[in-house]
Amino acid sequence: MESLTNTMHAVPLNHYILLSTIIFAIGVMGVLIRRNAIVIFMSVELMLNSVNLLLTAFSVYRGDATGQVFVFFIMALAAAEVAVGLAIIVMIYRNTNSIDINVLNRLKW
């Protein structure tokens, strides 16, 4: 494990920010271009994970363990969010026989 972390010592912080930005943007694109509610949910998970990675990178950069504790809380939050969200999707499917988000436009008014 020591040799593994020693090989990492030259990656600039900017590259971590760039990686997280790209994956976050891919998540945003997924929310915008898909109509399947489950795939949209997975894109949201992708965005949460990119933020988790960035928090961990900053935590290691600053030598402060608080960032990693925050990642732990975000994971707990994501688990709760997924449970409630998937229950809502199952309920929508039961009522409308589809998980196309466009059938939900009656919620507008």
Partner: protein, 167 residues
């Protein structure tokens, strides 16, 4: 060092496949691979606790939940909706603008210092547990209430009503 760039390339590649796969089951399988690359990122940062938690919670629990829901819903081929082409272009353009904006502002900041691990046992369970149960004890307890309420809410939402409404 080159390990990071290889794994980063794999992360981006698989996450693009997640949003572009036609079949939702394939999307979920690519998402599992994406989360696995994230686990490798955590290991490279020596955040061993987060790597294990990511492995167990995300790849174990959350994605199994996704797969179960997908199988419960029983999607057919004809039920996969497709957005119009212009909307797709607009969505990709919007996401790309976001990435370009952050990347260009990053370029203005100039070169950054490398991510160095000053304290080798920063991400170990012992160290994180000390921080978690000293400074963040109250949020930790509150998150248990959050998980309980999420569990109750999920069961409440997903159970069928006993008597049909229109009977």
């Amino acid at each position: 060092m080159s390990t990071f760039y290889f794994i980063a390339f794999l992360s981006i590649f698989f996450s693009i496949l997640v949003i572009s796969a036609k079949n939702p089951v394939h999307s979920i399988l690519y998402l599992i691979l994406t989360f696995f690359t994230f686990t490798i990122h955590y290991i490279l940062l020596n955040a061993q606790f987060l790597a294990i938690v990511n492995f167990i919670v995300y790849m174990g629990a959350i994605l199994v939940l996704f797969l179960y829901t997908l199988m419960l819903i029983n999607l057919n081929k004809e039920s996969e909706p497709v957005k119009p082409f212009m909307v797709k272009i607009a969505g990709v353009f919007g996401g790309g603008i976001l990435a370009v904006a952050v990347a260009s502002s990053l370029k203005l900041m100039g070169a950054s210092n490398p991510v160095l691990l000053q304290n080798p046992d920063l991400g170990l369970v012992k160290n994180l547990g000390k921080v978690l149960f000293n400074e963040f004890l109250l949020p930790f307890e509150i998150s248990s209430v959050l998980l309980l309420s999420a569990m109750v809410g999920a069961v409440l939402l997903a159970t069928k009503e006993k008597e049909p409404k229109a009977a």
